[in-house]
Symmetry: C2
Subunit: 886 residues, 2 copies
């Protein structure tokens, strides 16, 4: 006969810590804690197999199940020395769900089960507390009638409110035992009236009702949706745990508490927790009474007496359990306990959630304590978590003037000019201005402006508002729900509570970690990788195979990235340099020139500027590899769009307005993403790439010749769809590069490669590899084309897609492994089939997203490249991948 | 010893008709003609292997080659009874290239080789015509010095001109023998002076010089480019033919001519050709003298005497050869002949080029004559050629008023309102207006307007102008270079030579086949598939496996397509119906509605209109399958863009201007191709597809219930990237369809499928096929996304790409088999792996392009779908594919 029911209690358990699938997380842990000798209230677990049988059986049970439950209940009665339904010495139980994967709050629970008009007397006698007994009884009826019988919870809640009014009191706790006794009768009458059904007095009927309700709640809409969103298969099913009730609220020798085996905020190794005398679990969390510390480890003046003073025996027992748990689970635990009449019960233990700081400290210290290995330590810190540690913050030395406070919606600090529309934010950002986008609230139409801004400030909206969610997704600093400011779009200004007026263009600073708005451009400090963090990262580096480079366009970014451990630049976008300072004017002259000679004249002016950019970056990277992408965006991105700006430009370059205007119109594209850009531009205007290659090679030659640098520039040609494009441009580049080397009289090795960012490039990678010495997958554009999805426009519906579970994740955040990933894999394999030593990496934003990094490791890429602040994230993810791959 | 040289002459040839690769096309044909007993001037062919040896050997020859040439030359001397370099009885030869694939005019030729100051005397004596002899000699020097010695041809041409001036004559033929003799001396002196090198007197030196020059010309830039454009591999090499010269210009018993074994224009089975007495080959082609007919088959008053009258014996011999050639080659031949002193020589035979009409007639008649099989007949007509036959033409009965004449740049006839800008043409076309785009000339920026227009008229530009080339590519009627009209863009009008003014909005008609511009909307007749054409198509249909459907949105298009043999509709685009008549107003109301109720009110008004559309189409298709694509374009396409139109709309729907304007702006997208469209719209606004499905099913149910139709509507959901999108929309559609069936009380089977038009859909086709009963590959959008190339914007550079050979073909015309094709194949295979009975077709414009149709056959698709006028093209291409596949 199959085993459907697993008992636990008195140091003995049928199950063990390998049975998550069968017993669910909760059931497994209860069995495990019991086995290692912890005082767990006994009980039994009905397995996930019962759940499957339940649904296969038209929501009923095989006879074996009923039999096994009867036996387990008998054993439980014996262990507790009480009788289920015994009027003198009643056993009360809880019935709770417990699925293999955590689904907090999604399924149903029934407490205090076993109470009826007979057993209540036993509880009164035993507790000597009629008020406690009737309060438990009325709570049971409320819970059971709602969860099991399907009664609208409002009805009984309303009766309770009436009773309080009648008694002229505000709180439940102010009702007397008699009041509650009366309520029990009223509740039952109301059930009968509403449901035309008696409230069950038979404990067996109560028990099976509750069990079926909990199994049934596996399929409630809330749980179904949650599973869909979290990728939990419906066929797993849930287990059901029936456990003896214990009470922390039966007098002053009772208590309840929660604790962490180490400090979850800082990771410091001391026993951290709170408890309340004569209270139930909810009371600690609800915050109606002030909890007391469990010990004096961090005692502060004014703290209430600690458990180690008030209940020293129980505390000593608990402290021993803490040690036992850490040695057993080799990780920081989050525990719940109850003391019933001086006896300690463990209700729960699980791996404790912690801040990134704490995670790192705990991992490193546990290695030092010999509890875990370095590999385990690395795996203990989730790469995603590091993000918390990797944003700039305000310089503690700086003078600060806080002008408003809102919600700390997305961490980090940023300064910029106040701008009130997304369009203007985008336009100014293009001109390399730092911008803070200020809106009453944001909507999907603002996405491009949010992308462009350094930070976002909204007057309305909470921690899960559009602005907050999107900003966190982008890793941008955000203060949301800042009701303290009044925004006037017409006047282009906002006013603080103190009446200070901040106009468009003025500088402010946001502290997204504190939710503060500050006046002016407050100095910031870069986050640092030091101490335990540095130790952990060193371990991570020792395990990983994948290299981590950075996407950086300036010497400053290069330096930041190197400090974060970048091993080279994987993507240096040259177009950003075209916007620097006054260059944009020269670039525009180039675009507006009507002939080759005119374009060359302008390019000649840009050449020395580009060269100095590359000198700066090469110097900063000190010989590490640098991949430079030649000009990529369509030319119209460099021209102004509205008539005023066009007219200004016309005056500046001395061309008639109508001519400039017609140029702008001629360059207009319906789908610029799929237009005349990347290598297509260079096929039409080879002189642009010629100038860029010349600048790169002159910079390299100069450093090699004059400063004994060892540099191998990697010249990257973007948007190749057909090998012929690369063939032509490669020939041009080689000609120019060799000519520069000859002129400088030095031999500088260089690589010419391409960005693989179109499906066709992946499919024909074998041909393209004939002309390319390296590939870098541009997974941003590859996602756009593979999905047929414009990142700029997706804001209208993509958030909704993710929310409704149409897509599990935003494919611009986490690489779509099934679709885009297959193309990357295929492109990689085909490229290597032609050229076994082809260097291959990715440089889309996915390069800093952990699941994508792990994918890149798995398929065998050489490196990932990501923004400077994501470099440690990628390093850690790469280490995870390597360790898990062993 | 390898055989490098193949002789032919006197009925004997070393080579045969299987040796194209070795002997080249010309050499193979000369050998073949000799073998079947035709009077071919003897000679020998140096094989393509010699060419390879030549290049492998640093442009020199192995000794065996020299030996074999010497032997072949001896044999030739013997056959001709003349001596090479013999002063009394000299043998003159031609040296010509002849590659395996035809490369007309790309390589070099030398004629009259063997002449020098000694042998000229023999020629004079034999021809008894010193003028002829010296004229041949000076021509030889001009040709040889240029081709072999590398002298600038202009120099000797200049001397010739001087001589004519000196003599006061205009034509070469007016120069005397003495003049020409003097010129020979002058030419040699000029060679010596310019090149510092004597003109070679030694015939052997001349021969080897010419041979090397001809082999060398295989690598001249012209030939290299031609090969690249035509996909001919360089390693094939060319052969060289050395052949005895014969002369048609040695007196009145000499002649030269060209002929076709059947009429190449009509295909009629009679001997068609022209000849000239006492003339060389060039003279017939050059048109200086009027050629005479070879016979009286089509004799017209005023024709010159025919060859069958003037040279009856030679004509009889030639007529016999005609029969022999047709029986031998089983195809219409294009031949060249020369008569030297009464003796007929065959210089060339090759398969004759012909019009589409002729191709069909010849193929059908040759089957009837028992010359070829039906399969061969089908293969004889190129699907591309059919295009000539499949355009509407002006009704011969209609009254016509021609107002201007230009070039017949692209065939067919079209009428519409005169419009002068591409943008306006596009806008009006969207509103279902017929438009003729009139421009001075067109440029890539006009492509979208050309797409939208029914026909294009330009004042400037020839048969290969932008307008002409693009229009032919699009299959649009075009009259180009119509200098007879003066266009005034400011006044929005054009003026004819007769002074007639045609204003914007007036109707004109273009006859692209005649190059005529006509006033008003002249009635047109559809092309017909009848007579031989119908016979051939019936044979084609009997061989093909692939079904051919059509892309049609109206009952009229459906009828045209059915008349052309369409076996169903593969793509019925419902959005076109949204523009019909006044509906656009209601559609706009729907878009501008702020809530579901408002949208539904508008959709309720559209429902009966859509239903009547489907009724019409279903009726016209009489039970053939009809695939209906639900709404695809982004909503902003339905809204006006400029302020005037927005204001008009605001008044019409009674909403404030600012509100309409903000709606328009909100819907603006950066890359609409990759935006909120297709199934994405329906995820956001399910009510739109609900209405469409309701209309489709109501129409189907009505016909099934009331008219006993047998219909299985195929409902197609566009732009699916992820199976979840299809899952949701499929559920909605099934719910609606089943509800309609129930309401009508009939059981109508329907299919729900999807358009596969994104790379991700191809890659995940196995998952998508779980929810789809059919796939239709939308290769237009799939090409755009796979290439990352917007069709609307590609006009800026794609023509240049094709011209420069970066891409061999425009991927929007011929399916890119390597890239896009791989995705189609993969999508097909993965889809079928999930659902073995999945119905699969393509409905992009490639469905009517022959090479793409053949690809679809090869990978196993069920059908292709194309525009009505391409249906016969696709049917024939599908037959080719099936026959070649056997």
């Amino acid at each position: 006969m199959a085993k459907f029911v697993y008992s636990f209690g008195e140091g003995q358990a049928d199950g063990d810590s390998t049975m998550r699938e069968l017993l669910g997380g909760k059931g497994m842990n209860l069995a495990d804690m019991t086995s290692i000798g912890l005082p767990v209230p006994p009980g039994f677990t009905m397995t996930t197999e019962v759940c499957k049988a339940f649904y296969a059986n038209d929501r009923d049970y095989p006879d074996e199940v009923r039999e096994q439950v009867a036996n387990a209940l008998q054993l439980l009665e014996k262990r507790m020395g009480k009788g289920f339904g015994d009027a003198a010495n009643p056993l009360l139980v809880s019935v709770r769900s417990g699925a293999p994967a955590s689904m907090p709050g999604m399924m149903d629970t029934v407490l205090n089960l076993g109470l009826n008009d007979q057993t209540i007397q036993g509880v009164i006698k035993q507790s000597n507390d009629p008020r406690f007994a009737y309060d438990s009884y009325r709570r049971f009826i409320q819970m059971y009638s709602n969860v099991v019988m399907g009664m609208d919870g409002e009805i009984l809640e309303h009766l309770l409110d009436q009773k309080k009014q009648q008694r002229g009191v505000a709180l439940d706790t102010q009702l007397s035992a008699d009041d509650l006794k009366q309520l029990v009768a009223d509740f039952k009458a109301s059930c009968k009236q509403t449901l035309n059904q008696d409230f069950p007095e038979d404990p067996q009927e109560q028990l099976w009702g509750a069990i079926s309700a909990v199994f049934g709640s596996w399929m409630n809409p809330r749980a179904v949706t949650y599973r869909k969103l979290n990728g939990i298969p419906a066929h797993w099913g849930t287990a059901v745990n029936v456990q003896a009730m214990v009470f922390g609220n039966m007098g002053d020798d009772c208590a309840t508490g929660v604790a962490f085996t180490r400090d979850p905020s800082t990771g410091e190794n001391y026993f951290y927790g709170e408890y309340l005398v004569n209270a139930q679990g909810e009371d600690v969390v609800a915050g109606i009474r002030t909890p007391q510390p469990i010990n004096r480890a961090k005692y502060q003046e004014g703290d209430l007496p600690a458990m180690e003073e008030v209940m020293p025996a129980s505390y000593q027992e608990l402290a021993k359990i803490r040690d036992l748990l850490e040695r057993h689970y080799k990780d920081m635990q989050d525990i719940e306990f109850t003391i019933e009449k001086g006896k300690l019960y463990m209700l729960q233990t699980r791996t404790g959630k912690r801040t990134a700081h704490a995670a790192i400290r705990i991992a490193v210290e546990m290695v030092n304590e010999g509890l875990i290995s370095e590999q385990e330590a690395v795996l203990r810190v989730s790469p995603d978590q590091l993000d918390q540690l990797l944003h700039p913050s305000l310089d503690p030395q700086a003078e600060k003037q806080v002008i408003a406070k809102g919600l700390p919606a997305s961490p980090g600090a940023a300064s910029g000019q106040v701008i009130f529309t997304a369009d203007e934010a985008e336009e100014l950002a293009r001109l390399k201005k730092d911008v803070i986008l200020v809106r009453v609230e944001t909507s999907p139409e603002d996405i491009h402006g949010m992308h462009a801004a350094r930070g976002i400030l909204t007057a309305r909206g909470g921690m899960t508002s559009h602005a907050a969610v999107v900003a966190r997704g982008m890793g941008k600093c955000c203060v949301s729900g800042c009701g303290a400011i009044k925004i006037d779009y017409e006047k282009q200004q906002f006013t603080t509570e103190a009446g200070q007026v901040i106009k468009r263009g003025e500088y402010i600073t946001l502290d997204g970690s504190a939710g503060e708005v500050l006046l002016g451009n407050v100095p910031k400090v870069e986050p640092q990788v030091c101490g335990d963090f540095a130790t952990l990262m060193a371990w991570a580096d020792s395990f990983r195979r994948l290299k981590v480079r950075t996407n950086a366009d300036t010497p400053y970014d290069s330096k930041v990235a190197r400090d974060f451990g970048a091993e080279g630049i994987g993507l240096c976008r040259t177009e950003h340099m075209f916007f620097e300072g006054d260059r944009i004017q020269t670039v525009r002259e180039m675009i507006l020139a009507n002939d080759l000679a005119g374009r060359k004249r302008a390019l000649d002016k840009i050449l020395p500027m580009q060269k100095s950019d590359f000198l700066g970056i090469f110097r900063e990277m000190k010989g590490l590899p640098v991949t430079i992408r030649l000009l990529d965006p369509p030319l119209h991105e460099f021209l102004p769009q509205n008539d005023d700006d066009v007219s200004e430009l016309a005056q500046a370059v001395g061309i008639r307005f109508s001519e400039v205007k017609s140029h702008v119109e001629k360059l207009h594209e319906f789908n610029p993403m799929l237009g005349h850009r990347g290598c297509r531009l260079a096929i039409t205007y080879p002189e642009v790439y010629d100038m860029q290659v010349q600048a790169i090679m002159e910079a390299a030659c100069e450093l090699v010749r004059d400063e004994q640098f060892d540099i191998v520039p990697e010249i990257m040609i973007p948007l190749v769809a057909h090998v012929n494009e690369l063939r032509i441009l490669r020939e041009n580049a080689v000609k120019m590069a060799d000519a520069v080397c000859e002129r400088y009289g030095v031999k500088v090795k260089y690589l010419i490669g391409t960005m693989i960012e179109l499906p066709r490039a992946c499919l024909t990678a074998d041909a393209i590899a004939e002309e390319a010495e390296f590939f870098s997958f541009g997974t941003n554009d590859l996602t756009q084309t593979t999905y047929g999805l414009s990142r700029d426009d997706a804001g209208n519906f993509l958030p909704d897609y993710v929310e409704r579970g149409v897509l599990k994740k935003d494919p611009f955040v986490a690489l779509d492994q099934r679709g885009v990933g297959e193309l990357v894999k295929l492109g990689f394999e085909r490229g290597r089939s032609t050229r076994p030593d082809l260097k291959v990496g990715i440089c889309g934003e996915h390069g800093g997203e952990p699941s994508s990094v792990i994918f890149c490791h798995k398929i065998g890429l050489d490196y990932v490249s990501c923004s400077p602040y994501r470099v440690p994230v990628a390093r850690l993810a790469a280490a995870h991948a390597a360790i898990l791959d062993q």
